[in-house]
Symmetry: C2
Subunit: 466 residues, 2 copies
């Protein structure tokens, strides 16, 4: 488990890396309002705050004074009346010490500190924001309109945080494996429940309950649908029908907030049709291809393109694609079936650090984003390094609107057999298979016990619930 | 189920009731950010919006033009590119018709409409806000700072909405009963899991999973703790121990967002001690007393005080309180043990309409809030009417910080035996028993099947899971 040295060391490294002076201001999250001010969602601490300051409580601010080399947590202690309602409380001063922070003060002192810093023209570094309530609070602190925070957003802070967070240490891997263990139970439970007549909402609720009973809850809104071809799909209103594929993309957060993120695709009732099996094994081959390539020094863009090639070859072998496969991939023809990226970083955020700006996390000076349909959606393209945790999630989808569009617009007609698609695949759905991996010194390890993934393994798991 | 006439009639009644002219502006909710902009909590529509306009989608605005008698929904349709990712979409125009709204337009038209209304000095009515993102958006629309929305908050709109929403019709009761059925399963499951060695987090997760698998999820953050005496307690870190009481205050939202809210207190392992049984039966008697009194025409303040008296009498019978019981209640001595209110309205919000301002919902010109410790926390004091849905939730708690404070400050020493408390009850915990009720023509009905509540019923339910 993390201890106070974990947090001291993280902040010391940040101090050492920051090329600029001034104050770093890291707002912890406030409660997120649900349907009225006092009815709130589950509290979720800000990832940057919890990474640097550890404290898992609302209404806290972390400050790092780069000139004086001092770290602060600002927050209000509850008063004596509150203790009647909230039980005995540990003072902030004491709680902060658990994370190696020696300086604490009430929020009003933060206002004076920031006011003084602004008057003295000291640089104030913040990261991009994502919650309205935080923006309003920062606006108040910095005495600007909540929609005018951009001048405070610090590219040096952003870049240092990415450098710090992108490589996971052994303790972080332990936490991610905790999340993966919860994810394992969620996915195998979903497999066992994948029986005709069961509702998608029911299964989604049960697996979210597992996430809540073993950790903080889900790491992102569960995708659980017989319409796997609809990629941005959070509808759970369907009832399972034999012959359909149920795609489940779901993950958990451990109590430390570290995430898991896995996808499996399951034949309702437990038997793949032979057509489903063919497409399934193409996706699995793409997953295994990337799996075999991941290693320090290789770019994730190359892994993505290699997986794309396996998909294109596979689809050619079943008559859906045609022509020269290298040309097909170069032209992005595979992207009609695999229109998203191979994967992303994972850590304290399921798309790790996405809030900092995806392009800064996934790309660098050497590897730039590719401006082509499909590959443009690859969140991580740059060279892999030991300690990165990434996802491997190729997929094949038959998206009626996209098939129709490409057919009508004459896109990649040399590489795609539209006739077969329209005759046989418009109601197929989609398949995605996603594992989480740690890049090691020489390759990559799947994190957690691998969730059943071969045709035989998945069929056997569904059978357990029949 | 609700149909378009439900919504047309609600809006027509609002039109008819509003004593002022101008535009009513009801912002639907946006997605609530979790840990970065695209990772959001479960979507929760705003209660007022869903009550008047029905539509359960983010980024919508409802407008009621009180001068022209027209209703609008503003929202953006997804464009053709989005259909590739989101699947086939029903246009807003068509969706709005399901709720009887004939006028729809994109958000940009709302900006022009509001701009014009401001220029023409038309009154714009909004309700109190609760989400930062909504405040920022309203600030943009109304061209004021997001923290300067107060002048637009309309007391006439607030009062009309309370009049409309406080009486539930048959279809609403059906929805609340759906939520109660989910709550029944949550609570009986918690009882069966109340075995030594099980973690609070595990049980809380399992019952939240039930709420998610059968409806929208929980109606408020579950309280599940062996420290029932800590009233504002969302900690689930304990492990169940024989001899302790586990207090579970939890409810569900049906898919329509209507809520349930119940509390039960369960002996870990399934057997109450005789001391626990004594206190438990005092709380149950208070619950039953209020139960027998609820009827149109009686004030909830009187029901609260009658329950308080039953508690005081009961505590006197076991030697914890002493003296004249009417005097004890008049002096608020019972409130050391029962420091909160008897209950609150329930509907689309678990504390129905609390966001409008609790005092406007629970009190009126005739019945004003009572400024005495304990009773000051009663959310609903006014006269009950047929169609109200309320909770009945008396409790008895032994709060060490409060016992110590009253002892030290000499508060109510004539009515309380501090010696016994300090010797025998400091580690007792707390008991609360909460049902949901509909005020009928002549009395009140408990909504949903009553969750096991007698000592025998609760012990039998726990035994099922042993
Ligand atoms: Mn993923
Ligand atoms: Mn309640």
């Amino acid at each position: 488990m993390f201890n106070k040295d974990t947090y001291i060391s993280r902040r010391e490294r940040l101090h050492a890396m920051m090329p600029e002076k001034g104050l770093i201001l890291i707002p912890g999250n406030m409660e997120a309002e649900y349907n009225y001010p006092h009815n709130t969602y589950h509290f979720r601490q800000d990832s940057t705050f919890v990474y640097l300051f550890g404290l898992d409580l609302p209404n806290m601010f972390g400050v790092i004074d780069l000139d004086e080399g001092k770290d602060y947590i600002f927050g209000n202690d509850v008063d004596i009346e509150d203790i009647i309602w909230m039980g005995p409380q540990i003072p902030l001063k004491e709680k902060a010490l658990e994370f190696g922070v020696n300086h604490t003060a009430p929020i009003k002192d933060l206002y004076s500190m920031i006011k003084e810093a602004v008057q003295k023209d000291r640089q104030i570094h913040i990261l991009p924001t994502y919650r309205g309530r935080t923006e309003i609070m920062l606006g108040e602190l910095l005495e600007v309109h909540p929609q005018k925070l951009t001048p405070f957003i610090s590219t040096s802070l952003r870049d240092c945080m990415i450098k710090l967070r992108e490589k996971k240490d052994a303790l972080e891997i332990e936490e991610i494996e905790r999340a993966c263990a919860i994810g394992y139970e969620m996915h195998t439970t979903a497999m066992q429940l994948a029986q005709p007549g069961v509702s998608e909402q029911y299964i989604a609720g049960v697996i979210e309950g597992i996430a809540l009973s073993k950790g903080k809850g889900i790491s992102f809104a569960t995708i659980l649908s017989q319409h796997g071809e609809t990629l941005h799909n959070h509808d759970h209103s369907g009832i399972l029908t034999t012959g359909k594929l149920m795609l489940v993309d779901a993950g958990a957060e451990a109590n430390s907030y570290y995430a898991s993120d896995n996808t499996r695709t399951i034949p309702v009732g437990g038997k793949f049709t032979s057509k489903q099996k063919d497409i399934y094994n193409i996706v699995l081959a793409a997953n295994e291809k990337a799996n075999s390539m991941f290693a320090p020094g290789i770019t994730n863009l190359d892994c993505h393109l290699a997986a794309a090639k396996v998909i294109a070859e596979g689809l050619k072998s079943v008559g859906i694609m045609k022509g020269n496969i290298d040309d097909a991939v170069a032209n992005g023809a595979h992207a009609m079936f695999f229109p998203h990226g191979l994967g992303h970083m994972m850590g304290l955020d399921v798309h790790d650090m996405e809030g900092y700006g995806q392009v800064y996390v996934g790309y660098d000076d050497k590897i730039r984003p590719v401006d082509q349909f499909g590959t443009e959606n690859l969140r991580l393209g740059k060279k892999l390094e030991e300690g990165f945790v990434i996802t491997n999630e190729p997929g094949v989808y038959f998206i009626p609107a996209l098939i129709e569009k490409w057919k009508k617009e004459g896109i990649n007609h040399d590489f795609i057999n539209f006739d077969i698609l329209e005759k046989e695949y418009l109601d197929f759905g989609g398949i995605r298979l996603e594992d989480d991996l740690l890049i090691t010194k020489t390759g990559a390890d799947i994190l957690g016990e691998r969730i059943p993934i071969t045709v035989e393994e998945v069929e056997a798991e569904v059978a357990k619930g029949a």
